[in-house]
């Protein structure tokens, strides 16, 4: 019997993997992509909860739709930023982008 907990643990694993990607990859694209994995993990949670707990409507799925929409927008802007970063510095390695200091 697959319960809510299984899905949530799966979601937690995916979230952790995404987080690891965000924290430890040099490539800006991978970092962005890893956040997408984290967002997907969240969506998974929302939908699972909607199924197992949310008896009075489809709010969880609706929320997931909104998350997807925002995530799409975010990817669009994020990739735009990455491209412009690349244009300016000829690299997208985040180690080179450290002027946000002092």
């Amino acid at each position: 019997m697959i319960t809510l907990a299984h899905y949530m643990l799966l979601s937690a694993v995916l979230f952790a993997i995404g987080l690891f990607g965000v924290l430890s990859k040099k490539n800006a694209i991978t970092v962005l992509v890893s956040t997408e994995i984290m967002l997907n993990a969240v969506n998974l949670n929302l939908i699972a909860i909607n199924k197992y707990i949310g008896v009075d409507g489809f709010y969880g799925q609706l929320m997931a739709i909104f998350v997807i929409a925002v995530a799409a927008a975010e990817v669009g802007v994020g990739l735009g930023i990455i491209i412009s970063m690349y244009r300016n510095k000829e690299t997208i390695s985040l180690d080179e982008f450290n002027f946000l200091k002092w």
């Binding site: 899905y7 990607g21 199924k51 799925q61 802007v77």
Partner: protein, 169 residues
Amino acid sequence: MFNGEVIAFAIVAFLLIFSALGVVFMRNIVHSVLFLAATFVLMAVTYLMLDAGFLAGIQLVVYAGAVSIMVVFAVMLTKRSDLHETNLFNSLTIPGAIISLLVFLGLSWVVVKTPWNIAERPLVDPMAINKIADLMFGKFVIPFEVVAVLLLVALIGAIILALEVKPQK
């Protein structure tokens, strides 16, 4: 115990985790992106298992379709001659791994410890899409419109950011 549902979940979950790990651990960015597409597709499968067909559709269209393609474009636009070793770890790998592990453990702990208020019967409704539509154009119409505006703004923003800057004379 090992009914079809469990086996399907096990296989999908394994593949999902595997492909997600692939996204992170591949040293070539192109491989990474391929695994990403796989992750998105597998996620859609998971949604289907959760009786969220509409969401699965959206997942396929938006993520597996649009986002993956966009990422590929981005890779292409920022590529260098040699694609090997394009997706390396930085100096924070070990602390990052520890933190990620701890986050996972924390989340798991919450998941396990929380006495979830499970409904007696899972919410399964073939007319789900209608209900969602009602909500979206009824109660949540304003967030819906806001998201629409957000997408428009993001679109314009992305264009402006990616636009070639003319060298000033």
